[in-house]
C-alpha cells in the first residue's frame, strides 16, 4: 500500500510587498504530512504559521515553490477547483470561530453541505452527527450570540468536520478559550482524528494544544527550525 503524502510543501517561499521592498514571511519551507497526522506549527508571533496554513488551504498561494494538497498543486487550481477542494476536503477552524451570526448552530454547520448536492434528510443526519461529535446536539436551534465561546468553537469544529474532510486546518483554535474549554475541544479533535483518520494541522502558541500533538514543527522567521515527532504526547 502506497503511503503518499496528503500534503507536501516543496520549497515554499512567501513574500509580501511592503513599502518599496519585500517581506519574506516564509522562506524555502519543505514539509510533508501523512494522512491521519495530528501535528502543529508552533513558533513566535509573525513566524509564518498562519501564512503556511492558508497556503495549504488554498486560500493563498506561494510566491515560489509548490504546495501539493491531495496530489494537486494548489497554485494551479482554478477558482472553482480550489473552492471545491475547500468545500469537500478541507475544514477550517479559526481563532475567532467565524460563525455566521444570522444562522442557527444547525445552519452554520449545514452550510458547506448546501453547496453540495445533498438532500435535506441526509444533510440533517450529517449535521446532527457532527453536533453529536462535539456534544452540542441540544443547541442546534440556537443563534451563535446565545452560546458561549467554548461552545462556539465546538460549533466551528462541527462545521469543519461535517463533510468528513481529509484535512482540518486549525489556526490557534484555543486562543480565545479558557483551559477547560481548550482541553475539551482538543480532546474532541483528537477523538475525531482517531475515529475518522482525519489529518489535523494546528497553528498554536498554546502549551495545552502542544500537549496533544504527535508532531511539532517549530517555525521562526519563516523557516523551519525544528521538526520533531512526539512519541508520547502529554495528554494523549
Amino acid at each position: 500500500m502506497e503511503n503518499k503524502n496528503i500534503i507536501s510543501i516543496e520549497h515554499v517561499t512567501k513574500r509580501y510587498p511592503v513599502g518599496d521592498g519585500e517581506f519574506t514571511a516564509l522562506s524555502d519551507i519543505n514539509l510533508q504530512f501523512k494522512k491521519g497526522e495530528f501535528s502543529g506549527l508552533v513558533g513566535p508571533s509573525g513566524s509564518g504559521k498562519t501564512t503556511l496554513l492558508n497556503i495549504m488551504g488554498s486560500l493563498d498561494s506561494p510566491t515560489e515553490g509548490k504546495a501539493i494538497v491531495m496530489g494537486r498543486n494548489v497554485a494551479e487550481l482554478s477558482h472553482k477547483e480550489s473552492a471545491q477542494l475547500r468545500n469537500l476536503h478541507i475544514g477550517f477552524v479559526f481563532q475567532i470561530y467565524n460563525l455566521l451570526p444570522v444562522y442557527t448552530v444547525f445552519e452554520n454547520v449545514e452550510f458547506a453541505l448546501l453547496l453540495q448536492n445533498i438532500n435535506a434528510s441526509r444533510r440533517k443526519k450529517m449535521v446532527m452527527d457532527a453536533l453529536e461529535w462535539v456534544g452540542l446536539q441540544d443547541m442546534a436551534d440556537k443563534k451563535p450570540s446565545k452560546i458561549s465561546g467554548g461552545e462556539g468553537q465546538r460549533v466551528a469544529i462541527a462545521r469543519a468536520m461535517v463533510k468528513r474532510p481529509e484535512i482540518v486546518l486549525a489556526d490557534e483554535p484555543t486562543a480565545n478559550l479558557d483551559a477547560k474549554n481548550a482541553h475539551t475541544i482538543m480532546k474532541t479533535m483528537r477523538q475525531l482524528n482517531k475515529e475518522l483518520n482525519t489529518t489535523f494541522l494546528f497553528s498554536t502558541h498554546d502549551e495545552k494544544v502542544m500537549g496533544y500533538l504527535n508532531r511539532m514543527i517549530h517555525l521562526e522567521d519563516g523557516k523551519v527550525r525544528k521538526d520533531e515527532p512526539i512519541e508520547k504526547p502529554q495528554y494523549a
Partner: protein
C-alpha cells in the same frame, strides 16, 4: 490505510438550487440585519407605491378626460367646414357652409355664432351654438330644448351658470347679428343647466335649437361643424374635412404624455434616492462583513457565488420593498379605485376636463412594470459595489484587512 485519496469533484447542485440558496441566505441576512434593512425596504416600498399611485392617477385622470370629451364634445369624430378652425375665433364669421343634401344621417349639425348676453346689465361675449335637438350622440341634454315652450330656450353649463349667475327658468338678453350683420336682440330662457367635466362645451357658451338659430340669423341650412356618432362612415364631402376621434384627442393625449413624463422625472429622483440607500447599505455591508466573506470562501463558495449572494441580498431589499408595498399599497389602490379621488376646485378652472372624482387606473401592467423596474435597478445597484468581492483576497478578507 490509503493516504492518497483522490480529490473528488463535488456533484454540484443545479444552478437554480444555488440561486435559491443565495436568496435563502440573503433573506436570513436581511432579517438578521435589522433597522437598516427596514429603512431601505421602507424607502423602496414607498417609491413603489408612489410611482404606481401617481401614474395610476394620471392614467385615471386622462382616461376620464378622454371619455368625457368623447361623450360631450367629440363623439365619434367631427366634420368641420373647411374654413372653420376651432382654434381661431376669427374663422367663425365665415366658417360655415350649407349642410350637404345627403350623407348626414349619422351627423349632428352645429352652427356657431358670436353674440353677447347682458346678465345684470353687464355685457358678456358668448358663443351661441345651435344644435340639432333630436340627437343622442353627445350628452348635452338637448331634449330640454325640445321640451321647452319658451320662445328662445337655451341650455348652459354649470360653470357658465355660475359665472353669469343664472338659474333654470331665468331669462337674459341676447344680442346677435344676422347674416347681413344687422343686430337683433331678444330674451333667451334658461331651459336647463347641465353638469359636465368638459369646460369646452360650457364656459362662455349657450346652446339653443339649431332651427331657432337659423331663423334668428337667417342662415337656414348652415352648419359650422357636425359631430359624428359611432356608426358614421367617413365619406368624401367637398368643403368639409373629417377629424377622427383620435385626431381630436391628440391634444389631451399630448398633455397626458407630458404629465407622465413629469411623473417619470419625479420617480426617477425618488428611485435615485432609494438606490443611494441600497448602494450605501451594500458598500457598508461588504466592508463590514469581510470576515464573513472570507468564511464563505473558506467553506467552499467561489467568489462569484459570494458576489451572487451579496447581489441577491441587495435585490432582496427590493423584493421585500415590493412585497411590503403590496401589503399596504393594494388596500390603498383598491380604496381609491372604488372611492375615487376628489379633484381640487382650482383644477377645474384650468380648462382641462377634470372629473369631480378621478378614479385612478392601477393596471396590472403598471404594477408589474413598476415592480420590475425597482427590482432590476436595485439588483444592478447592488451588483456594482459587490463586484469588489470578485477581486478580494480571501486571506485579507478573513483578517478584515480591506478598505
Amino acid at each position: 490505510m490509503t493516504a492518497n485519496s483522490k480529490i473528488s469533484t463535488r456533484s454540484e447542485p443545479p444552478r437554480g438550487a444555488i440561486t435559491r440558496l443565495a436568496f435563502h441566505l440573503a433573506y436570513k441576512n436581511l432579517m438578521g440585519a435589522g433597522l437598516r434593512t427596514w429603512l431601505s425596504v421602507g424607502i423602496l416600498s414607498f417609491v413603489f407605491v408612489l410611482i404606481i399611485f401617481y401614474q395610476g392617477y394620471v392614467e385615471g385622470f386622462y382616461q376620464n378626460s378622454i371619455d368625457e370629451n368623447i361623450a360631450w364634445e367629440y363623439g365619434g369624430g367631427q366634420l368641420l367646414y373647411k374654413d372653420y378652425d376651432p382654434y381661431d375665433a376669427f374663422t367663425l364669421q365665415d366658417g360655415h357652409g350649407k349642410i350637404p343634401a345627403t350623407d348626414t344621417k349619422d351627423l349632428v349639425p352645429i352652427l356657431i355664432r358670436q353674440a353677447s348676453i347682458y346678465p345684470q346689465g353687464r355685457l358678456m361675449p358668448v358663443l351661441v351654438k345651435g344644435i340639432e335637438v333630436a340627437q343622442n350622440t353627445v350628452k348635452l341634454p338637448t331634449q330640454l330644448l325640445q321640451q321647452s315652450s319658451a320662445e328662445y330656450p337655451v341650455i348652459i353649463g354649470k360653470r357658465m351658470a355660475a359665472s353669469v349667475n343664472l338659474k333654470k327658468g331665468d331669462q337674459v338678453m341676447l344680442r346677435w347679428r344676422d347674416k347681413n350683420g344687422s343686430f337683433d336682440a331678444g330674451n333667451v330662457t334658461i331651459a336647463g343647466i347641465f353638469d359636465t367635466d368638459v369646460p369646452n362645451v360650457d364656459i362662455g357658451q349657450i346652446w339653443m335649437p339649431l332651427k331657432k338659430l337659423w331663423a334668428m340669423t337667417d342662415m337656414k341650412g348652415q352648419a359650422t361643424l357636425f359631430i359624428a356618432n359611432n356608426n358614421y362612415e367617413q365619406k368624401n364631402l367637398p368643403k368639409w374635412k373629417f377629424k377622427t376621434q383620435d385626431e381630436l384627442l391628440t391634444g389631451i393625449r399630448a398633455l397626458e404624455k407630458m404629465d407622465k413624463i413629469t411623473g417619470v422625472i419625479i420617480y426617477l429622483v425618488l428611485l435615485a434616492i432609494a438606490m443611494l440607500a441600497v448602494f450605501d447599505t451594500q458598500v457598508l455591508s461588504i466592508f463590514r462583513r469581510q470576515q464573513e466573506i472570507g468564511t464563505y470562501i473558506s467553506l467552499g463558495m467561489t467568489r462569484k457565488q459570494v458576489l451572487g449572494l451579496f447581489t441577491a441580498e441587495g435585490c432582496m431589499h427590493s423584493i421585500l420593498g415590493v412585497l411590503v408595498g403590496f401589503i399596504y399599497g393594494v388596500p390603498i389602490f383598491i380604496y381609491f379605485t372604488r372611492q375615487g379621488i376628489g379633484t381640487p376646485a382650482a383644477v377645474d378652472n384650468l380648462g382641462i376636463s377634470a372629473g369631480k372624482r378621478i378614479f385612478p387606473d392601477f393596471s396590472p401592467e403598471l404594477i408589474i412594470g413598476t415592480a420590475v423596474l425597482i427590482i432590476v435597478s436595485t439588483t444592478i445597484v447592488s451588483f456594482l459595489p459587490a463586484r469588489k468581492i470578485a477581486k478580494m483576497n480571501p486571506v485579507d478578507a478573513l483578517k478584515g484587512k480591506l478598505q
